[in-house]
Subunit: 329 residues, 2 copies
């Protein structure tokens, strides 16, 4: 619907700025080319998904502010960029306590500092309900910002860790609120912490961008299935994901046992875990070398020259990825 | 509440970025220093104030999108910067028509292009209600971004045009919706257009920044009273505003006559007209020279070394500025 997004300008002093990747590319962030650096900027609204955890008593106002900022920084991390600042929109109902507002801001400030950056601005005031939105910026060395669109057949598909924990937590505490079976305290604590203190993978993103061998990257904030499918679409490749390689969290297995949700649905569906999914140039680096280069990352499969995104099981059977993305109607 | 916002980083290639003005300065935008340019970025939520005009049938979805983007670009204009892009958050209820969403986006795109920039990203999807927020970025030549904090006693206080029209429109159409007296079609049209097709003063902002004589600047998106008081506070000066110099729109006079709201309340109160209020260095330029240099701008008064912000009438009497800022509880 939006027209071409080519745009550039030169200041009288001679410095130029040009838009490299705008809205039409559907990346996590827009990318600008500036003297000596690339600038990335993206924006994320958080109301909706986070609030069932809040409503079920698992998140304080401080946790909401923290989460808002991590969700935004994760978009910058997925571009392989260094976060340079976050703006927050915090609008609240007339009867919102001053202390509650201060707790949201304190959480936001904590999250920014824990990720090496700052809250640099925002818009606060009343509204008819609580609304939280943010914008994060970052910088990269020229030409190194990671996009969704660079994967090629033969590239190795990687993920930075296990997924499904955030969705497992959401489903678990919903069930507990409805009087369902409980898991032990340590497990409950770990599930809740995935929302209270999420982590954006800034260091890994920077390492991926600097490696020169990473051809695409995206965070899993839309869930693992959606993430792989979006890279596939942007890069015009398919993916064969090897079922045996998919890292599964023990937390997800425990929640699956008490909620009846399948491990695969939790792992691939709309779980917002802020992991990074990325592809490594298959011609430049072997998969074992990439695993050594990016410790903690797991090879999920391979980019293919067919146009399907498939889960391939050890018996050779293939099916679409399980799970449903939670958003975008 | 937020701690110091000093922050800087240097990329491995040697390019540096540092935060010049963050959230603690309470400017319209944060300011960064980059190689060869300054970068400004600000964010604005628009739900609330705009919606009485929408609810009273004066704004279409396309107009809402247009307004959202102008409100955000105005913050960049007030910094004397060239807009480089806008991100929009458009979240809507489940039953929101696709065509309505497309109209919001089309209005946003139109507004960006009419102001020489582009929509470069955003976050769209469902929520429990319609929620509109944006972020605008801009660039300036190094060290030229206009802040609120530079006014000094003896500086001339200027405004780029008349104010009160937006608030007059809001009050007028509220009264019409309640069955009140009507004004002629041309007047209704002009009142409605102030919300449907507002204009951010980008060209003037750039001229102010390049002049080298402008010591502070802010847009009137919080209303004229609040704008002058915020510059006063940030700059630690007072202002004597000369009542006879305040430009009054004939539209405001007509609405005052049928609504009973005073002209002064409409002009100084919470009217979102996106004008620029700025100060000119009194030691560097006389007021008549400044009026010639910035055509269309009107001298309102003078920055003073007392700490009051006063309306001074021709009989010498002085009072606080009339009107109430509409927001910030």
């Amino acid at each position: 619907m939006l027209r071409s997004d080519a745009w550039s300008a030169t200041l009288p002093g001679g410095a130029s700025i040009s838009l490299v990747t705008g809205v039409s590319a559907r990346d996590d962030c827009a990318v600008y080319s500036l003297p000596g650096m690339d600038l990335v900027v993206g924006t994320d609204f958080v109301r909706g998904v986070g609030f069932s955890m809040y409503e079920n008593g698992q998140m304080s106002y401080r946790d909401l502010g923290y989460y808002l900022v991590v969700a935004n920084i994760s978009d910058v991390a997925a571009m392989g960029s260094l976060p340079t600042g976050v703006l927050v929109v915090i609008r609240y109902p007339q009867d919102f306590a001053n202390t509650a507002f201060e707790e949201v801001m304190r959480g936001a400030d904590d999250a920014a500092r824990h990720h090496g950056t700052r809250i640099v601005g925002g818009d606060t005031g009343t509204a008819d309900d609580l609304y939280l939105s943010g914008t994060a910026m970052g910088v990269s060395e020229p030409g190194t910002a990671l996009l969704r669109s660079g994967a090629r057949p033969g590239d190795h598909l990687f993920i930075s860790g296990d997924t499904g924990i955030a969705e497992a937590a959401r489903q678990y505490f919903k069930q507990v609120a409805a009087g369902g079976a409980r898991l032990v305290d340590d497990v409950e604590q770990a599930l809740g912490e995935s929302w209270r203190r999420p982590r954006a993978e800034v260091e890994l993103g920077l390492a991926l961008a600097r490696s020169g061998v990473v051809t695409s990257c995206q965070d899993t904030s839309d869930g693992l299935k959606a993430t792989i499918e979006q890279i596939a679409e942007a890069s015009a490749v398919g993916f064969d994901v090897e079922a045996d390689n998919v890292p599964v969290s023990p937390l997800v297995e425990q929640v699956s046992a008490v909620t009846g949700r399948t491990v695969e649905d939790l792992t691939f569906g709309g779980s917002v875990d802020f992991r990074l999914v990325f592809t490594v140039d298959g011609g430049a680096m072997t998969a074992p070398d990439a695993e050594e280069r990016f410790p903690g990352a797991t090879r999920l499969g391979t980019a293919a020259d067919h146009d399907a995104v498939r889960l391939v099981r050890s018996d050779g059977s293939a099916s679409p990825l399980p799970g449903r993305p939670w958003r975008h109607s």
